[in-house]
Point group: C2
Chain length 268, copies 2
C-alpha cells in the first residue's frame, strides 16, 4: 500500500496505474491517480435489471452521468480503455447480494458471468483537475445524505447523497461553479450552494460517509462557501436498497481510471 506515494500515483498514466492495480500492487484509493484523466465509477448488473437502471441514470443525469456501457458479458471498456479488464483493474470492489454487502474483494474474477452489463459513470475527481488548473482551493468535507429524492425508476429509488467542498470566498465559489459546469460527465455544476439545512443536512462536521482521511471536517467559517455535488454514494445506497440478487460496484474511492483526458469529455 505505502510503496507508492501520492506524487507517484499522480504522475502515472492510466495504463501504468491499472497495471499496478491488476498485479495486486496497489489496493488503496484511486484518489489523485493519473492527473488530468477521467475516472469512472462502475455498476455491474445482470442484464435483466440493466434497462431500468439505465433509465434511472437518464432521469438523474448529474448524479449518474453515463460515460459508457460495455457489451453484455464483456469486461472490457472498449471505448474508454480498450486494454483494460474491469474484473481486475480497480483496487477494490463491493459485491452486493439481496441488499447486503457480502464481499469487498480486490478482483471479481470469480463473480463474472456472461449476462452482466457494466455501466461506467463519471467520477468527480475528474473535475478536481479543472479546479486545480483554475488555482481554486477547497476543503473536502465528505459526503452527506440529503432530503432530496432522486427521480425513481423501477426498483431504483432513494435520496441523493452529496459531496461537500468548502471554498474560501464567494468569488472562488462562483468560479468553481463556472469551471465544473463544463464537466457535466463528472457531475457538472453543484446542485446546491450555501445553507446545508436547506437540503436536509443537519451538521457539516458529521459526514455520513467517506470522511476525509485523518481529520473531522470543520464547518465553514464566515465568508467561506459550501458547494454540494451529487455523489456516487447515492448509487451504492440505491443498489443496496434495490435488493437485487447481484450488483457489483467499486469500493469507495477505488474507482477506475480511463484513457480519456477529462478535458476530452468537457462541454463547450
Amino acid at each position: 500500500m505505502s510503496k507508492y506515494t501520492g506524487t507517484q500515483l499522480l504522475a502515472m498514466t492510466p495504463q501504468e496505474y491499472r497495471s499496478l492495480v491488476r498485479r495486486g500492487e496497489w489496493t488503496g484509493r484511486s484518489t489523485n491517480a493519473c492527473y488530468g484523466y477521467c475516472a469512472a465509477e462502475i455498476v455491474i448488473l445482470p442484464k435483466e435489471y440493466a434497462y431500468d437502471f439505465l433509465v434511472f441514470c437518464h432521469r438523474n443525469p448529474l448524479t449518474c452521468p453515463v460515460l459508457d456501457i460495455t457489451e453484455v458479458g464483456s469486461p472490457h471498456p472498449s471505448r474508454l480503455a480498450p486494454d483494460a479488464d474491469l474484473r481486475t483493474d480497480l483496487p477494490r470492489y463491493m459485491v452486493i447480494k439481496d441488499g447486503q454487502v457480502t464481499d469487498e474483494p480486490t478482483d471479481i474474477k470469480k463473480y463474472w458471468r456472461d449476462d452482466l452489463a457494466t455501466f461506467m459513470l463519471g467520477e468527480a475527481t475528474s473535475f478536481n483537475w479543472a479546479l486545480m488548473d483554475a488555482n481554486l482551493h477547497f476543503r473536502k468535507m465528505g459526503s452527506f445524505l440529503t432530503n432530496i429524492p432522486c427521480v425513481p425508476y423501477g426498483l431504483f429509488k432513494g435520496n441523493l447523497v452529496v459531496y461537500c467542498k468548502v471554498f474560501k470566498n464567494s468569488h472562488e465559489a462562483v468560479r468553481a461553479i463556472q469551471v465544473t459546469s463544463r464537466h457535466r460527465f463528472q457531475h457538472g455544476a453543484p446542485m446546491h450552494v450555501g445553507d446545508p439545512a436547506a437540503i436536509g443536512i443537519k451538521d457539516l462536521s458529521k459526514p455520513d460517509k467517506i470522511p476525509p482521511v485523518g481529520q473531522a471536517p470543520k464547518p465553514p467559517d464566515e465568508g467561506e462557501v459550501a458547494l454540494f455535488w451529487p455523489c456516487f454514494a447515492t448509487v451504492r445506497a440505491i443498489l443496496i436498497n434495490a435488493n437485487l440478487p447481484l450488483a457489483i460496484v467499486d469500493y469507495p474511492a477505488s474507482y477506475f481510471v480511463t484513457d480519456k483526458r477529462s478535458e476530452e469529455l468537457a462541454v463547450l
Copy 2:
C-alpha cells in the same frame, strides 16, 4: 392545413399547439411552432428492444440526445409535458413493421400496447431559436447521408444522416458553433464544418431527404460556410434497417413540442 399561418403557429404555446393537433385541426409540419420551446422526436419500441436502443443512443449522444423516456406502457411524457398524449399530439407518425413503413397515420391509438416504451429525443429546431436570437441567418440545405457509421449496438446500426445549413461567412459560422454548443440536447455543435466530400456527400444541391419546401438548394457561394449537424433521419433509417416487428416514429418534420423552454435544457 392552411387555416393557420406560420406566424400563428410560432406564437402558440405548446399546450395550444398540441390541442390543435389532437383535435385533428393541424396535420402539417411542426416546423416553427411554439417559438422558444424544445421539440422532441419520438421513437416508440416494444420493451424487448428498448435496452439496446437506449445503449445505442448513449453511444451516439449528439445524434440521439435523450430528453426523456416514458414509463413502459404510458403514452404520457410526465416530465416534459404532463398533460400530453403521445398517441395523438403529433401531426403525423410513421409505423414501421418488419423493415417496411406500413402506415403514416395522424394518430396511433390503434397501435398502442402496454409493452411500448417511448424515447423522446431532442430536435434541432430548438437550437434554431438560439440562432435566431443571435441574429444569425442561414440557408436550409436539407439532409444528406454521410459515409460515417454510427457506433452500433445490437440491431441498431447505419450511417449518420446530417442536416446542412449554410452560413454567410466564417464569422457567422463560428458564432453558430458557439451558440449551438450550448444546446447539446438539440444535437449540439455541428459534427462537421466545410467540405461535404470529406464526409461522403457528393453534391450539396441534391439532398437525400426532406429538401426545403419549394426550392432546390443552392450550393455554398464563395465565402459561405456549410455546417453539418446529426439529424433524426439517421434514426428513422436505422429503425427501418433493424427489421423490428414494430417501431413508431414521428413523420418527418412532424415532431412533438414539449413544455420545456429550449434554454431550460441548455448547458452552461
